[in-house]
């Protein structure tokens, strides 16, 4: 019983850290985008104000039970994957489920939320939502290929399918996996561009085209939950990459430095590119990223 309580409290603490970091990163993204465009930009805490405002909306509408539950599905994905991704290497601060952190489980729990959310968006009856979702699902099939190639390469090279196991490999050898398995790292980072769905892979949201797609009928508390979930999930993804390829982090400062450095890749790439069509982005993912993924597997087999 005590252990359960300890875990629950740890999970809440982890969630709060992830929320704050994710929100701040989102705000910094807006700030950096603004500075690159020679604007002053919003303050870095703008995303907190936005979520607070959304939470303090007085009214809300929904088109049925699935739309009502949709953001909760998303939250399940974010928090569950947060629970199984180790936040820090020596994990006294954030106890959670991460000793069971299995990569294949992670891959599948990542789909739980989007599918529930997609059903919610489908129930609104808004055609824009459904269009956005078909684009999103199609694009997901695109970037999962290099991502899985990279992960399978790591798994067969180091004979473990758990995140903790891969971190232990790095701790033992003292080399980060991004150096010992460079091709897997390249493929995974290219897949990460798709996962963050910033430009040029922002065809799902496309505000000017399909009115923000899946979220087009959500406002107030629903949008608040979605935005929070998105921030937490961004943190999870970055932490996962740090754990897999950069040897994890001993304390929170190192974690912030590493995740921020990684976060700059999709942010800066998005500033230089314009939106791809869905099939273009799918083909992009099945081109060079998958090629690097295959190289990674080749490397894993040979060495």
């Amino acid at each position: 019983m005590e252990e359960v309580l300890y875990n629950v409290l740890g999970a809440i603490a982890t969630f709060l850290v992830a929320f704050v970091v994710g929100m701040t990163y989102g705000g910094l993204n807006r700030k950096i985008t603004a500075r690159v465009q020679n604007r002053k930009g919003p303050p870095f805490y703008q995303n907190f104000i936005d979520t607070l405002k959304l939470a303090s909306k007085k009214s809300a509408i929904h088109h049925g039970v699935m739309q009502h539950f949709g953001p909760a599905f998303l939250m399940v994905t974010s928090v569950m994957s947060l629970l199984i991704v180790p936040v820090l290497t020596h994990n006294q601060w954030f106890p959670n489920l991460n000793f069971h952190g299995d990569l294949i489980f992670l891959l599948y729990i990542m789909v739980f939320g989007p599918l529930g959310m997609a059903l919610g968006a489908g129930q609104t009856g808004n055609p824009n939502s459904a269009i956005g979702i078909t684009r999103g699902l199609s694009q997901m099939v695109g970037y999962e290929i290099p991502w899985v190639l990279a992960l399978v390469a790591l798994m067969i090279q180091y004979h473990t399918t758990s995140i903790v196991g891969l971190m232990a490999v790095q701790a033992q050898s003292g080399t980060w996996l991004m150096f010992s398995s460079p091709f897997a790292f390249i493929a995974a980072v290219m897949a990460m561009l798709g996962m963050f769905s910033y430009s040029p892979f922002d065809v799902v949201i496309a505000p000017a085209e399909i009115a923000s797609g899946p979220a087009s009928e959500n406002g107030g508390k629903y949008l608040f939950t979605m935005m929070s979930s998105g921030s937490v999930f961004a943190f999870v993804k970055l932490t996962l990459y740090v754990d897999l390829f950069m040897g994890g982090a001993d304390n929170i400062v190192i974690l912030l430095v590493k995740t921020f450095a990684l976060y700059m890749i999709p942010v800066l790439y998005s500033l230089t590119t314009v939106r791809y069509r869905t099939e273009q982005s799918i083909r992009w993912f099945w081109g060079w990223p998958s090629f690097f993924g295959l190289l990674a597997i080749l490397q894993a087999v040979i060495f």
Binding site: G125, A130, L137, T225, A300
Partner: protein, 615 residues
């Protein structure tokens, strides 16, 4: 008298009485139908002892019937799903024509599948196999549509399989002089190499047809979608598993004993993987729910074939667990389509939209089944998928992992399409009258959905009989080192503990649902699907804005080059080239059982006469 005889007597007598009872009263017919499925099922699980054989001699051929742990596992699928589907069928067939015909063949095919599992000799195995083919063919052409294109295709492929099996049986008999399966297994390691290779190939062809393996899957989409949905859930859920059953037996008892067996396994595993990809890509494109599910069945059977073809302990566990799961979720999904078709009269996504508020229980079971199909935790599909991936990775099939993973990721597309097409979208006036299906139809679906939910956290319930079955086939005990009641492990020692996952997911989900509901409860309002933000326009009552035509177009545009060739075309070209032969075949396959039986007998006689010359 032995229980096995009683079971078969009830099946046969029930089939005949049910057929004629329709003349007296419809309700009597329903009751007889249920009795003749449920009572044998009960007797089977209550009274048939595992490991005990019944021997009898019929016309000089000694037959043997009995059951071991492995076939008991499959009888769980056949009789469990069969019973639920029978209950469903009573609701489904209400007010339909030719109920006697349907019930008769339904009972016969359940009996045939039970018989296959009980057979310990090749003759009764073959006879039951043919009864199964025959009765399923008759149900496939039940509504009289497309008999030429679909029925004939199914029958031609089944016949190819049947002849292959018959040839193998004749070869075996020629060598061993006995029809008993046990004798065949004993004699196999000592056979000549060509026999050692040809007999498994022949058997695998026969089983591959029923398991809808590439390139023998061509018949499946048509036959699955053309049969009444009450039967298709059995057709896809249980009947295809007979192919898996046979394949597993062949692989374990024969192929394992020869050095070339590795190649068999590799080829089969890749065929399974390719089947999964092709089935998935075709399923995404379908606008008809039945076709979509049929192609999806082909794809799912591909995973199962890959699992059993890899053949490590974990892979076998994965394949057989997926087989059980497939029976559950595909049975449910076909029942869902049947319920929708019954209530609305169509199964096309472009016609029906927005049923979620009209058929909530159907939606719930469809949702759970789809989550299980997609392999998303915390439902049972995830356990099977996890074990399959882990077994592929630990046995170094790294490219096959990618292929399988691609198929199962792309499967999300059709999963979403299925749910969206029927239940989501704008509510139309045309379907305002639609009501929830009757309880007889909803209950079986919900029971299976609940079972999938339980299996997601406690897969040990099914892994235990699978383990027993595998032990009966000579595998080592895998309890505790590959699975526990709610833990799954791989051979590298990585594990997933399922209970905390379920509790965390449930906890997080309930917390946020409570948050979303409690926050601003008074100011949260339900609005209709016509009240959407579409540039200030108000959609009219008869205006349906749902996006359902060309639904997965962006994905299809990306994979178009790979889709241009379809295997059907090769077969058609082949058929055109050999039109004369096929014309001949068509004349033979009149759909009349007698002609077929005569042909089989002639074939057997010819084979026996020329056996020395042929082999």
């Amino acid at each position: 008298m032995n229980t096995i005889y009683i079971i078969f007597l009830i099946f046969l007598g029930g089939a005949v009485f049910t057929y004629f009872a329709g003349k007296i009263h419809k309700v009597l017919q329903d009751i007889l139908f249920l009795v003749s499925i449920l009572v044998p099922a009960y007797l089977f699980f209550a009274n048939v002892e595992i490991g005990q054989n019944v021997n009898l001699t019929l016309g000089g051929i000694s037959l043997s019937w009995g059951i071991n742990y492995f076939s008991w596992l499959f009888s769980l699928i056949v009789l469990g799903l069969g019973s639920l589907a029978a209950i469903y069928a009573v609701g489904f067939m209400k007010g339909e024509k030719r109920r006697g015909y349907f019930y008769f063949n339904f009972i016969l095919s359940i009996m045939a599948m039970t018989g296959i599992l009980l057979s310990r000799d090749l003759v009764s195995f073959f006879v039951f196999w043919e009864i199964m083919t025959w009765s399923s063919y008759l149900i496939t052409i039940y509504n009289g549509n497309k008999v030429q294109s679909i029925g004939i295709k199914y029958f031609v492929f089944s016949a190819i399989g049947a002849y292959a099996m018959l040839m193998a049986i004749v070869m075996v008999h020629h060598i061993t002089g006995s029809f008993l399966i046990g004798d065949m297994i004993h004699a196999y390691p000592a056979m000549a190499l060509s026999m050692q290779i040809w007999i498994p190939i022949m058997f695998l062809m026969a089983f591959g047809v029923k398991a809808a393996m590439m390139p023998l899957h061509v018949w499946a989409p048509g036959a699955y979608s053309n049969a009444p949905m009450a039967y298709t859930s059995v057709f896809s859920g249980a009947l295809s598993k007979m192919g898996i059953y046979g394949m597993t037996l062949v692989l374990v008892t024969m192929v394992n004993h020869i050095p070339q067996g590795v190649w068999f396994r590799e080829v089969l595993a890749w065929l399974g993987g390719i089947t999964a990809v092709i089935g998935t890509l075709w399923a995404i494109q379908q606008d008809d729910a039945k076709k979509l599910l049929a192609y999806s069945s082909v794809a799912q059977l591909g995973y199962i074939i890959t699992g059993i073809a890899i053949g490590t302990e974990l892979a076998m566990l994965a394949g057989l667990f997926l087989a059980v799961m497939h029976a559950l979720f595909k049975g449910t999904l076909f029942m869902v389509v049947g319920a929708i078709e019954k209530q609305t009269g169509t199964s096309n996504f472009t016609e029906v939209t927005g049923l979620i508020r009209k058929m909530p229980w159907t939606f719930l079971s469809a949702l759970l089944a789809i989550i299980a199909l997609a392999g998303i935790p915390p439902l049972g599909g995830f356990v099977g998928k996890w074990m399959l991936y882990e077994s592929l990775i630990t046995s170094n099939h790294y490219l096959l992992v990618i292929v399988i993973f691609f198929a199962s990721t792309a499967a999300f597309l059709y999963c979403y399409k299925f749910l969206f097409g029927f239940f989501m979208g704008q509510e139309e006036k045309e379907w305002a009258h639609v009501k929830e299906a009757p309880a007889v139809m909803v209950l079986p679906m919900l029971i299976m959905a609940l079972f999938m939910l339980v299996l997601g956290t406690f897969p040990g319930i099914i892994l235990n009989p699978i383990n027993h079955g595998l032990q009966a086939l000579g595998y080592a005990d895998s309890y505790k080192h590959l699975w526990d009641t709610s833990i799954i492990l791989n051979s590298w020692g990585n594990k997933v503990v399922l209970q905390p996952i379920l509790y965390s997911i449930a906890g997080i989900f309930l917390f946020f649902i409570a948050f979303l509901t409690w926050k601003g409860y008074k100011n949260t309002r339900f609005i209709s699907t016509k009240d959407i933000s579409s540039s200030g326009e108000v959609p009219k009552e008869d205006e349906n804005l749902t996006f359902s035509v060309g639904f997965m177009q962006p994905f299809y545009r990306a994979v178009e080059p790979a889709m241009r060739r379809q295997i059907d075309k090769y077969y058609n070209a082949f058929a055109d080239g050999l039109e004369a032969t096929f014309e001949f075949l068509r004349r033979i396959y009149t759909g009349n059982g007698q002609t077929y039986a005569i042909y089989v007998i002639v074939f057997v006689v010819v084979m026996l006469l020329f056996k020395d010359f042929l082999f």
